[in-house]
């Protein structure tokens, strides 16, 4: 294995994060804080409790997931799209490095950024509402699994996109709505029965449900199903990436 190449890509990508600190870390933290002000304080004050947890506390896992999902996709898709856009991808393709090493470098860096961001938002949330995490190990496991899975998904989008518009299209038109409708701000039990069934088709429901369970032991669906669905999505992303590198899709002529 070319450890040095993985390290080079990883550190190169992480360096970009520090260079763009305002955009990478500060901006999502500010947005999340605003969510707390709007949903937690303004609206939350009118909702007493959700399944025994105050509304402000209830939305913390959903808010973290919202940022982790969108930032994982944004980081990974931009990370691989930018070298394609500038042409510097030639160096990656001509280096003695295997495909899985390329993925490890880019996706590893994107996931790391998202995890750091998730933990920062968690700490920020602690300033607004009292928090108690029942299963911290499971919380971290869900965080890492989600960050890695959606970074892989972002990597696929970055390879697929042949313009900045496409780069934004899936995250804005698909992922953000799915996340908002995936129970970030409510329990799907609060929905009418018909809509609850529809909501169960949304994969993000399972992520948020599992993550929320690790905090408060309350879940919309069983934890095993949450883990199973996330892992299934991870496997699908891995298969797609394997196919991309095998065929050279949008990378090699």
């Amino acid at each position: 294995m070319n450890h040095r190449a993985i390290r080079a890509i990883y550190l190169f990508e992480m360096a970009r994060t520090w260079r763009t600190l305002l955009q990478s870390i500060v901006s999502p933290v500010v947005s999340t804080s605003l969510y707390f002000v709007v949903f937690g304080a303004a609206i939350g004050s009118r909702i007493s409790q959700v399944e025994g947890v105050s509304y402000g506390t209830f939305i913390v896992p959903g808010l973290i997931m919202l940022s982790v999902l969108t930032q994982s996709i944004a980081n990974a898709s931009f990370g691989i799209y930018f070298p394609k856009f500038t042409g510097t991808i030639y160096e990656i393709l001509s280096a003695p490095i295997s495909y899985y090493e390329i993925v490890l470098g880019y996706v590893g860096a994107a996931a790391t950024k998202s995890i750091i961001l998730g933990l920062i938002i968690l700490a920020t949330a602690g300033l607004f509402v009292p928090l108690h995490i029942h299963h911290p190990v499971w919380m971290l496991a869900f965080l890492v699994l989600t960050a890695v899975t959606f970074s892989l998904f972002g990597f696929i989008i970055g390879i697929w996109a042949d313009g900045f518009e496409k780069l934004q299209m899936i995250p804005m038109l698909v992922v953000t709505p799915l996340t908002f409708l995936g129970g970030s701000f409510y329990s799907i039990d609060m929905l009418p029965p018909a809509w609850r069934t529809v909501a169960l088709l949304n994969p993000v429901v399972y992520l948020i449900s599992g993550f929320r369970w690790s905090f408060y032991e309350i879940a919309d669906v069983s934890v095993a199903v949450s883990i199973g669905m996330t892992t299934a999505f991870l496997v699908i992303c891995l298969v797609v990436i394997w196919w991309i590198f095998r065929t050279g899709y949008r990378l090699k002529n």
């Binding site: 070319n2 040095r4 500038t86 160096e91 001509s94 003695p96």
Partner: protein, 307 residues
């Protein structure tokens, strides 16, 4: 000399059906400077891209340092440094960071002394902390060479290295390339500038429409295909050539003041002696004469036209 790159029966057909390479066979000798010439769209960049791993071949086999580029790609690629035609750079990185990144990418341990030497050799040392976006085009080109040399490759591909570079900088790059060759690096150069090939190459390959038209030692090529031109500056102007000189196929130029005679140096007889004799017989005298060798450019144009 042994081959460091061996290309056998290599073909490339793009998805559109365009055949960029047609059954190319080529051997690059260790330690040489090989110039690959060809018009736009001839297949030069496609050939380099396949050898370096950027494009997939449709058919054929390529060995680099004896290693198959597909089955043993790590060993093959680690021998190669590539400077592509376009200026692809990480605009917001510093020179030092981007060159160090390239070394890491090729699996080499950190070696600040080597990076420093490369940057100094390329006159980039005082720019090492500058962001690439602030550099001039010529400097960016040198940064790309520095990146390609960062991992101490045995083979360096320079795809149009001096395109859009001013004459002074171009000559500076030629010096760098010569120094690299002296240190044992094999250099494959594609260029539109015939003078560049003429100045630097040990051997020359000509590619046209995806086919290698010719591979030849430069000196032999010049000798084999080169024609010489004899120019006679006449004492008096001629209105027309006398009948006795018609078979020499002379050109009468400058309003009848200059006679031009092209002859083949590889021919058994150049015809110069008899021409001079016939001129004397015809009473045509001249003040001066000079001879010139046809350039590689003339040869190249001839080859491409006839292939």
């Amino acid at each position: 000399m042994s081959s460091i790159i061996s290309v056998a029966n290599l073909s490339k057909t793009y998805g559109s059906g365009f055949k960029a390479l047609k059954n190319v066979n080529l051997d690059i000798q260790r330690g040489e400077i090989f110039a690959l010439l060809g018009p736009n769209g001839a297949g030069k960049t496609t050939l380099i891209s396949i050898i370096c791993g950027i494009a997939n071949p449709s058919e054929g086999k390529v060995l680099v340092g004896g290693e198959n580029i597909q089955t043993s790609y790590r060993k093959a690629r680690s021998l190669i440094g590539l400077v592509p035609q376009e200026l692809h750079t990480d605009a917001f990185e510093s020179v030092w960071a981007t060159v160090s990144f390239s070394r890491g990418l090729f699996g080499k341990p950190k070696n600040p002394a080597h990076i420093e030497k490369v940057l100094k050799d390329l006159s980039l040392w005082d720019k090492k902390d500058n962001k690439i976006i602030t550099l001039s085009g010529g400097m960016k080109r040198r940064v790309m060479i520095a990146k390609a040399l960062s991992h101490e490759p045995q083979i360096l591909f320079l795809d149009e290295p001096t395109a859009g570079v001013d004459v002074e900088l171009r000559k500076g790059m030629w010096e760098v390339v010569r120094t690299l060759q002296q240190s044992g690096v094999t250099i494959i150069l594609t260029t539109h500038y015939i003078e560049e090939a003429e100045e630097m190459a040990d051997r020359i390959g000509v590619i046209n429409k995806g086919e290698i038209v010719l591979v030849e030692d430069k000196a032999t090529l010049m000798q084999k295909l080169g024609k010489k031109r004899l120019t006679l500056h006449l004492q008096g102007k001629l209105d027309a050539l006398p009948e006795s000189l018609r078979h020499y196929e002379l050109d009468l130029c400058d309003g009848g003041a200059t006679l031009i005679y092209d002859y083949d140096t590889k021919g058994e007889r150049t015809g110069i002696t008899s021409l001079l004799g016939d001129l004397r017989t015809a009473g045509i005298r001249f003040n001066d004469l000079d001879t010139t060798q046809s350039s590689l450019e003339d040869i190249f144009v001839d080859l491409v036209r006839t292939s």
